[in-house]
Amino acid sequence: MIIVGAGPTGLFTVFEAGLLKLKCHLIDALPQPGGQCSEIYPKKPIYDIPGFPEVLAGDLVTNLMEQIKSFEPGFTLGERAETIDKQEDGSFIVTTNKGTKHHAPVVVIAGGLGSFEPRKPPIPTITDFEDKGVAYIIKEPEVYRDKKVVIAGGGDSALDWAIYLADVASEVSLVHRRKEFRGALDSVEKVEELSKIGKIKLITNAEVVDLKGEDNLDAVVIRHKDTALGEEIKETDYFIPLFGLSPKLGPIGDWGLEIEKNAIKVDNTYDYQTNIPGVYAIGDVNTYPGKLKLILCGFHEAAIMCQSAYQRIFPDKKYVMKYTTVSGVNGFDGSRKEAKKEVVKSIN
């Protein structure tokens, strides 16, 4: 099975699938497994995982990774699942944004809130200038050598890149809505220092509100909070808004799945299958009447979905759900976990 999303629900799916001897491969846009639990709140406690009065989100992920280890899941991390292609035999090929292809009879979308994408400032013309002077992520800093760059934002990434590009670009301006910056102290101090010697032009209490250019970006329009200063047009080669990441359903939204309330509609009365047979959606990414976005509901959905996926992959095989306490856990790595046999002594 291909699992899109390596959050807690996706990870636990590997376990439930493993009990049925189904092997899983997980794809996630983030560079590490755990989804939101690792990316947003690893140090926050969770109190509603049954059997755990309190567990840190990061520890829950560590435990899940341990629980599924013997089922040897494959991981493609740091790549976003981009397209899905149904094959003639009913199986699917999922291709990532980096071109990696995976082929499986069943696809499980456990994509949570979606993949984390850079936040775009609400400037109406911004999409017209994407890759024509506007960038939300700095991939190749050398692109900016001896160019004029305007960075917007007040967090760590805005500060760090302003510092880095101060030595690369011909001119670096940092536009921020407030006077205060909220990054790591040494970054803030460094920016202040570079601003004093003129290597970074600090433009605070101001926002970039418009972009100018024929085809490529030529200038940004900066509006000052102080109405006496009004607006200024600043010539630049590049505009780099750095306002953090927010989750977006992203390309999954174009897979032909029925979408409702930014989530994928599934059949909750049976097996959490989507409108495309063979494609399931579980966890926070799905919706059905009465849906609750809870990790524990994701786990429940994973267990039910795996039984259905098994029947789909092996329509002629008879199977009944087994208890791990009775059957133990047989890893794909040859390991076996089982309950200790009771020593029974009979009295003659």
């Binding site: 939101q36 947003i40 709140y41 926050k44 809130l113 936040r119 775009k120 400032p121 609400p122 934002g153 007040g154 967090g155 809505r177 407030r178 909220r182 306002f243 953090g244 927010s246 989750p247 309330k261 930014n262 989530a263 976005k293």
Partner: protein, 111 residues
């Protein structure tokens, strides 16, 4: 403990005066969601941890009755769009009896 009245102006500009319970440990974002005054998936995306700005609102009165902004809330508002001086994250506003008559306007949905 009793319910209080809160007026919420939705993203279309329509005002809704709703009852909000003070005894259910709710915050303002949850009140907005419970009355479905903003589409699901466009508000409270992070669940209420001040880690996204989807529940941003403009506080129109009783500002002095609200709890101080935490570091996390300030940090998040710093990265949000459409921010005004009276912007708050509604998930960081617990419903208490002091807030009877509160009026807020939801900030536009940011992409």
């Amino acid at each position: 403990m009793s319910d209080i009245k809160i007026t919420i102006i939705d993203r279309e500009g329509e005002a809704h005066t709703v009852d909000a319970p003070t005894d259910m440990n709710m915050n303002l974002m949850e009140v907005v969601r419970s009355y479905e005054l903003a589409p699901e998936g466009t508000i409270g995306i992070c669940g209420g941890m001040a880690m996204c700005a989807s529940c941003q609102c403009y506080v129109l009165n009783l500002e002095h009755m609200l709890p101080e902004q935490s570091f996390e809330e300030e940090d998040m508002l710093d990265q949000a769009f459409f921010v005004e001086d009276n912007s708050r994250l509604s998930c960081q506003i617990p419903i208490t009896e002091d807030l009877d008559g509160l009026e807020v306007k939801l900030a536009p949905e940011s992409t």
